[in-house]
Symmetry: C2
Subunit: 561 residues, 2 copies
């Protein structure tokens, strides 16, 4: 009898005969001498390979999603499948993705290299350390933190920093809730000044955000120097540059700034580079990586999540405006299970056909489609197919798409690789070739901070109004004092809802967005209004994924998801 | 007028035309396809390249030193120079070194890639991140720490661990004294169980020691599983394996276990791999790296420090016994400045000729020479030449060597590269070819713990006796309860003195060695009697080296030392 249990992602990945990365480079038109190999299947791409003309004239496709369930809706899988399909259709395409964060690999979520027959490889390496980018960020960040604490006790060059005002925590790419809130500097005069602090996960580091927006080493150094550290006792702002930290920090990041080249299951190039969380930072890969992909492609597929409201909103207003990018289409990844969830079905019933719940959940998709149009970019719905989806349910979504005049296609990359995303690719090509998009930002950076926040809250989230806590109001004053009102907005919000309340599913209206505080990412160059209870350091579950991960004597890893 | 300011290490390094690492591999007799490249100038060597016959029949030379001044006496520089010279004399030689720790690069000490014209390259990369080995160790260590804290609050698989007995701290490769003593788990029920803890520097991680002693992935996994975590409330020991941590930890270390190949200034192969501190762990590179070097060489030069009492003692009793290695000669790196320091000269006067102080300091050298002979290994004195050494001072050391019947040679690798170490190389060859050494360990692992400690203290350090604190006595009981009495001894002691008191210079006698406590490194497989005030997390100085480190727009780093 045939065993019908589907193969796990890692089992599929390990059956693929990997091509040497030099072969992939040759396919891109590169001399293998031009790349910097990291083992036989990974490489770093020097910034000198970016081709400005190609970037200007290339077709950039953004893949985003509806508001996701906790499991995620498969943006990465859809991005990879779409990219394979575009290559099959003769469009030279590169998929440009974020790097997985190591912490969640051992927690609940697992890795982030796609799934099924739409994966980037070698998935074990990409999910574990990869080429060391996250570690480099961690070291640069924690060096700055150590310099700050060192300065607090310095006798000869003390900046007079008021320890109570220091906002910079330390970072570590491990899910470790016990480090969220800590007291450091205990143990007597030789071991620092006692104060409250904590650790965030590395993806939440401002340096991750900075690296993603930097143009080159000089721009990186300037932004690192601009990191706001806190105030002196006489209320003067202190920046990283006041600690002469930015040179050493930039030196630590000299390789992390270079995008990484790997391959898809079908042997197409994939660029994977960095990626801060979209619920607390801009949530897309680096500007440099996007440009690198466009330098070698007719079509470049990239992704921003969680949902459109977080990832795509920041992609458009922060990244595209900052880097002069102009996307030609946006794919809204949709799953039937998530729409049923938004329509009131319980999480443990999502595999059961339920047209009523699905219909009730549709307004969430509708809102994300409307949002895409606010930026002048034409959306295409990709239904990321699950084995449990019923024909009747699929028909419901197609009917909505027809009614709204939006293109829709099944995305079966998980089960079938590029073959399963041909229809989606054709529809994307149609949108691009007919120049149906004309990207425009939602707000001007030069507007005042409150206006910018309200514009996003009302237009994208559907809020009735925005309320600023007393702390947030003090922060607005600080932003004004520091002359940072012209920065764009990067709202920290739950991904589970269009609102700031994770329980408001579907398409909530009439709600108030509550801004608890506004963080200043002066180096990254944006302001972070924090809404709801955002966590920057995840914890581990009762049975961490690490318990199932193993490696054989021959070096074969199992249990990675 | 000629500028006579000598070039800095990084300036010399940057003038060298690097060979591609594939060229170095070919020189070793390897097909470049067999190595895993990390950029163009670094590579990882798969364990399958180890040749057991070559290891058995090769000539292993250990470079150690007298008790050093805070600046270090140049073991690495001497090792590299000796290796270049041996290659010049037609002996196929590989130098096998430790990886620099990142933390001190930004503190006082700087990097650890040799100096002057005896360096391993690319020094910027080796000193910053390198191939990610330290970061991998950090992640494996901190994953275990997170699993422990996660288990403390687990409702479904709680091991009943008594938080007060947990000995494992977290690690970070940053000099950050504010993390030495911290309180974690604050912030309410969602954020862990409050308890005291702290951070050590990554080189001090037991996992570093484990990786250095492991034979292969399976042995690594077994040792990781054996890490002792603490006790349950009903006094049962808990190991990492009880948290099912060792599989994921080993997966994280799958590349870190592979030695790294780089090149010397003269284009000879250099293997650089790991390296725990010798004052708190075994202080030499990995067994795998040493074997890898021997697999491609007639002569393999490696180093262990700080002084012979710490590094070489552990090299012989722990590493050589564990791995079946048998060194053919030991080079004792000696500087005139350090001997003057031991003879009573102040640190700021060491560049001034002072024969009287030098003569007074000689007993320190004599003791290290006697110690080498206790292991049956013939010592050769290398005088690491400084510009300020006087001929008269050099003559004093040569006179001592003649009196003791010990070979002595100038080591001028810093100023002249391999050319400057030819005399030293000739003397080493003479010792090896006449088979003048017959290595024997100082103690048997099967002796009882107190006897083993006393044997080292009295024979190597010159102590009159050993005193165990009440805590140390309780630890002896624990070791006995856990059945770990058969492990070798890895004494944590200051490197500044042969005794446990950093102020006792020269060759102290009649002192008591005070064992404060005895740590159990059940995974690494040794016991760590801690003497004096050992610090496992360094701090930064008032003006950290990071302030002077910079990188240009083109990526050229300056200020690294």
């Amino acid at each position: 009898m045939k065993n019908t249990k589907p193969l796990s992602d890692i089992e599929i990945a390990q059956q693929v005969q990997l091509r040497r990365i030099s072969t992939i480079a040759e396919k891109m038109g590169l001399d293998p001498e031009e790349i910097e190999m990291y083992g036989n299947y990974k490489a770093k791409l020097p910034l000198s390979l970016i081709d400005k003309d190609k970037v200007k004239n290339g077709n950039l496709i953004l893949v985003s999603a509806i508001s996701p369930t906790p499991a995620g809706e498969g943006k990465t899988t859809v991005s990879i499948g779409l990219s394979e399909a575009l290559n099959r259709l003769g469009k030279k395409t590169t998929v440009v993705l974020r790097e997985p964060s190591l912490g969640p690999v051992f927690g609940i979520k697992g890795g982030a290299t796609g799934g099924g027959f739409s994966q980037v490889l070698p998935m074990e390496d990409i999910n574990l350390h990869f080429t060391g980018d996250f570690s480099a960020i961690e070291k640069a960040h924690n060096l700055l933190a150590a310099l700050i604490d060192n300065n607090l006790q310095s006798k000869t060059n003390n900046l007079g920093l008021d320890a109570r005002t220091i906002s910079l925590k330390r970072v570590m790419d491990v899910n470790d809730r016990a480090l969220r809130n800590i007291v450091i500097g205990l143990g007597g005069t030789g071991s620092g000044i006692p104060r409250e602090s904590g650790f965030d996960i590395t993806a939440a580091s401002e340096i991750m955000a900075i690296l993603c927006l930097s143009e080159d080493l000089d721009d990186l150094k300037r932004r690192l120097g601009n990191i706001f550290v806190g105030y002196t006792f006489d209320k003067q702002p202190v920046y990283a540059r006041d600690l002469n930290a930015e040179g050493a920090m930039t030196a630590l990041l000299k390789d992390a700034i270079k995008p990484n080249l790997v391959q898809t299951i079908e042997g197409n190039p994939a660029i994977i580079h960095l990626g801060p969380f979209a619920n607390i930072a801009q949530g897309t890969n680096s500007v440099i990586a996007t440009r690198m992909g466009m330098s070698f492609s007719d079509y470049t597929v990239t992704e921003a999540g969680f949902g459109f409201d977080l990832g795509a909103e920041k992609f458009f207003n922060i990244k595209c405006q900052s880097a002069g990018l102009s996307p030609k289409a946006v794919v809204i990844t949709t799953t039937i299970r998530a729409l049923k969830y938004h329509g009131g079905a319980a999480l443990n019933t999502l595999t059961v056909p339920n047209v009523e719940a699905l219909v009730n959940g549709l307004p969430n998709l509708e809102k994300h489609l409307e949002n895409a149009k606010l930026y002048g970019v034409t959306p295409v719905i990709a239904i990321n197919k699950f084995l449990t989806d019923s024909d009747e349910e699929i028909a419901v979504i197609k009917e909505l798409a027809g009614r709204l005049g939006v293109k829709v296609a099944m995305a079966e990359g998980w089960a079938k690789g590029g073959e399963g995303a041909l229809e989606l690719a054709e529809k994307v090509i149609e949108v691009v070739e007919k120049s149906q998009s004309s990207f425009k930002p939602l707000y001007r950076w030069s507007s005042d901070v409150v206006t910018k926040i309200e514009t996003i809250a009302k237009n994208i989230y559907g809020a009735a109004n925005v309320e600023f806590s007393p702390k947030a109001k003090r922060d607005l004053k600080t932003i004004s004092d520091l002359g940072l009102e012209g920065l764009p907005i990067c709202i920290a919000k739950t991904q589970k809802s269009l609102s700031d309340d994770p329980k408001l599913l579907g398409r909530p209206t009439g709600f108030t967005l509550n801004v608890r505080e506004i963080e200043i990412a002066a180096g990254a160059g944006f302001l972070i209004p924090i809404t709801g209870d955002m966590m920057r350091m995840p914890g581990l579950p009762a049975h961490p994924a690490s318990e199932r991960i193993d490696i054989s004597a021959e070096g074969n890893i199992s249990g990675l998801i």
